[in-house]
C-alpha cells in the first residue's frame, strides 16, 4: 500500500502546522472524461476535452465525492443520475456525473461512475482553486491520518 505524506511549509520552507490548519488536506487533481467516453470520442475522431486541473480537499464529512459543475460542463459530460442532498434549505436534487480523477503527485487514478455536481465556483483555499471535494466513497479505500501538530497528513491507498 503506497503511503504519501504531504507536509505544509511556511516561511523559511519550514513545516508550519498553521498552514495545514488554514488550507486543510489538499491535493492537486486533474478531472477528465471517463475512459469509456474518451474511447468513444476517439473512435469517432471527435476531440477529447483536455483535463481540468485544480485542487481537491479531502474530507470525512461528505458521503460522496463532489466536482464543480462548471468543470463537468467544460468536459461536456452528461448527467447519469440524481441524488437527493440535504441542504440548509431542505432536500435538493443534485445531478450525478461520471468522471475520472487523477492525482498526479500520488499516482492515483480513479474512475468514478458518479460524482455529485456542485457549485464550487470561486471557492479558493489558501490561494488555491478548489474544484473537487473528496468524500467517504474514496476514503473507504484509504487510510487518512491528519497530524495537526505535525503540520502534515498521510494518505495511504
Amino acid at each position: 500500500m503506497p503511503v504519501h505524506n504531504r507536509f505544509f511549509l511556511g516561511q523559511g520552507a519550514k513545516i508550519d502546522p498553521h498552514v495545514l490548519a488554514q488550507a486543510g488536506p489538499l491535493l492537486h487533481v486533474e478531472v477528465s472524461v471517463p475512459t469509456a467516453l474518451g474511447r468513444y470520442l476517439a473512435e469517432r475522431g471527435q476531440p477529447i476535452p483536455a483535463p481540468v486541473g485544480g485542487w481537491a480537499l479531502l474530507g470525512t464529512g461528505a458521503t460522496r465525492s463532489c466536482v464543480d459543475a462548471s468543470v463537468l460542463q467544460k468536459l461536456g459530460l452528461s448527467p447519469v443520475g440524481v441524488v437527493q442532498t440535504a441542504t440548509a434549505g431542505g432536500m435538493v436534487p443534485q445531478y450525478l456525473y461520471p468522471a475520472r480523477l487523477r492525482f498526479p503527485a500520488e499516482g492515483l487514478d480513479i474512475e468514478f461512475a458518479s460524482v455529485i455536481g456542485v457549485d464550487l465556483k470561486g471557492l479558493r483555499i489558501a490561494d488555491r482553486e478548489l474544484i473537487v471535494l473528496i468524500g467517504r466513497d474514496v476514503l473507504a479505500h484509504c487510510v487518512l491520518i491528519y497530524n495537526g501538530p505535525g503540520g502534515f497528513f498521510t494518505l495511504a491507498f
Partner: protein, 82 residues
C-alpha cells in the same frame, strides 16, 4: 430538464424493477429499460457504447433512496443547483 423522462419511468416501474432487479444498476433511456448490471461502471460502459454523449439514467434499484450528505451544503456554505 435532463433525465426527466427516465426518472419518471423509474418511479412508475419501481415496484416491478424491485421485484426483478433489486440491488442491481439499471440503465434507462427515455421510456425504455436498456438493461440491468451488477456495477455502475458496467452500466456506464454499456450506456456510452449505445448512446455516446447523450444523457441516460443509471439507477441502483433499492427500496430506500440514497441521501447525499455534504456538510458544506447542509450549512449553506456551498450552493445546490437543482
Amino acid at each position: 430538464m435532463p433525465l426527466e423522462k427516465e426518472l419518471a419511468f423509474y418511479e412508475q416501474h419501481k415496484a416491478e424493477l424491485l421485484k426483478h432487479y433489486e440491488g442491481l444498476y439499471v440503465l434507462i433511456k427515455g421510456n425504455e429499460l436498456i438493461g440491468a448490471f451488477t456495477s455502475e461502471a458496467e452500466a456506464y460502459q454499456a450506456g456510452v457504447e449505445r448512446f455516446g454523449t447523450e444523457p441516460f439514467l443509471i439507477k441502483r434499484v433499492t427500496k430506500e433512496e440514497e441521501v447525499g450528505l455534504i456538510p458544506a451544503l447542509s450549512l449553506g456554505v456551498l450552493h445546490a443547483r437543482a
